[in-house]
């Protein structure tokens, strides 16, 4: 895989070159009174630089100089126009948003085992060293990732990865129309003038947390999984018994999770919990500690099926 340090250095040099081009564009056609027009011009210039160099050279000039190139997944040769354009647009959008955008690019690239940051994930591409001669297939990504970052194992099986669990959480209510209607009702009630107050929004949020905790407790205790976990081939089990946790522990887990996810004041603690899930040996966040649980690969599935399910979830293809 491409060295992440080299990629950061290449990006810094490319960003400097792009900054010069953007200043020239502003000087030529910019308007000091139109902030968003100037931002758009900057994004257009960066997109053109990234997309055209990807199309003609296979990567930006600096990346080529440092021995890196962009490959399109499931294809050979240089990336095609649509892939280069999508990648260029994402790089441009993240570049024109100071601090937050740069942070998102850096964090997404550094935390991914294969260094596939947001631009590569959106475009369906990957950055590899020149020496890497073969093409990259989507179905092989899971194997490559395991090669770079060995999977974490427990007595009950392989630990679920953070990004897969995050996406599984998003899919959680996919098939629960009753829950969707409940939150829709909560959203509606605070738009009716007599109820459109800050207090009502707080109350509706509190009601939502109660509904969430009850539903999550029921699902985890009864089945040891949410619909999203099933799609990702994951199960939630008691660390001691390997079976779905009891009602009390499921409730404790759901309560901690509900509060961390839906009370913005607690989001710094959520960040700590996510770091624990990402970096400790068992992948347990604070809610897992409260529930005495582990989230692991479903032992009823064969390992390759589970790995492919997790990869489909990671790529947003589950469903």
């Amino acid at each position: 895989m491409a060295s992440k340090g080299v990629r950061v250095a290449a990006r810094a040099i490319d960003a400097a070159a792009e900054a010069v081009l953007v200043l020239l564009a502003w000087w030529a056609v910019g308007d000091a009174h139109k902030l968003f027009t100037d931002l758009f011009l900057a994004a257009a210039v960066i997109t053109a630089y990234e997309a055209l160099s990807c199309l003609w050279l296979g990567a930006t000039p600096t990346m080529r100089l440092f021995g890196l190139r962009v490959v399109e997944l499931d294809a050979s040769g240089r990336p095609t126009g649509p892939v280069c354009l999508r990648r260029g647009v994402m790089v441009a959008v993240l570049t024109v948003i100071p601090v937050l955008g740069w942070g998102l690019w850096l964090a997404s690239m550094l935390t991914d085992a294969l260094g596939r940051g947001f631009p590569d994930r959106v475009a369906g591409s990957m950055v590899v060293p020149d020496a890497f001669a073969r093409s990259v297939a989507t179905k092989d990504l899971a194997g490559f990732a395991d090669g770079v970052r060995p999977p974490r194992l427990t007595a009950w099986g392989r630990v679920g990865d953070l990004d897969v669990r995050f996406r599984a959480r998003l899919r959680r209510l996919t098939d629960s129309r009753l829950m969707a209607c409940a939150i829709a009702f909560l959203a509606l009630i605070v738009t009716v003038p007599p109820f459109a107050t800050g207090e009502m929004i707080l109350i509706s949020s509190a009601i939502w947390i109660v509904v969430f905790v009850a539903h999550e407790t029921w699902l985890v205790h009864r089945t040891g999984a949410t619909p999203g976990h099933v799609m990702a081939g994951l199960v939630i089990i008691s660390r001691e018994t390997g079976a779905p946790p009891g009602a009390g522990r499921s409730f404790a887990r759901a309560l901690v999770l509900g509060l961390l996810l839906y009370v913005p004041l607690l989001w710094p603690i959520l960040f700590v919990s996510m770091s624990m899930m990402r970096y400790n040996d068992t992948g347990r966040g604070l809610h897992d500690v409260a529930g005495g649980t582990l989230v692991v690969a479903d032992p009823k599935l064969d390992p390759e099926t589970q790995r492919q399910r997790a990869m489909r979830m990671r790529l947003g293809l589950a469903g």
Binding site: H33, L35, F40, L170, L173, M179, A180, A184, V190, T191
Partner: protein, 265 residues
Amino acid sequence: MALPLRDDERTRRVPWITIALIAINVLVFLFVQPAGFQGGGISNRQDQYWQAQEQEEFAYRWGAVSCEITTGKTLAQHPSGCRGERPDSPPAGKSISLALLTAMFLHGSIAHLAGNMLYLWVFGSAVEDRLGRLNYLGLYLLGGMVATLGYVAFNARSPVPLIGASGAIAVAMGAYLVLLPRGRILTVISTAAFQVVYVPAIVVLLLFFVTQLFTDPLDQVATEAHAAGMIAGFIAALVFRQIPAVRRRAKTDAADAELRAGTAF
């Protein structure tokens, strides 16, 4: 408040018309509309005054003004049917019928533009895929005008200019309800602790429709245009659904969905 992010319906073709409509709206806002619509970036009070004048003149020239449409006369011709505050110097030589079209491509602020384009992308691309490009373009443009006329029907004497693509986008939303009733929308619900969930499209769209009935009139939102647009889109899609090509596409999509559901992965 519910903010859609994307739907989970698979599309078969690149939604070029939707992309083109978004590009036109964005380019018009950035390069054609005066700087005042972007907040200006001016501290000098006199310059701010001139910028506001320029902004007002632009909105009256290219926006749809209800009482101009109902009387057939521009504000510069001093129609008798207008009630409310009018501009000091309304633009002369304005085309009222052209303004019905141009108003659909103008926006009052970057937030207005961003919200509308997000809705257009989520719902428009799916409807374009199901209807076909030309049908969709016709639905968008004609439906947008019908939505504006719906607003005019409830505000016949208003001299306030109406701008924004939301009426036309509401048409696409109404059509989505008929064409893809089982679609699911990834939605952020800010009033339910920022929950991000896949909500059935029917819930999101009915929620949007109902909230139009409760919006505060002081919010300066053309709720009548949204409601009229959704109804127009709903009815038009019932008609479009009878076209053989559209029926074939619906059948193929249903077969695809069944195939995917049966895929053991």
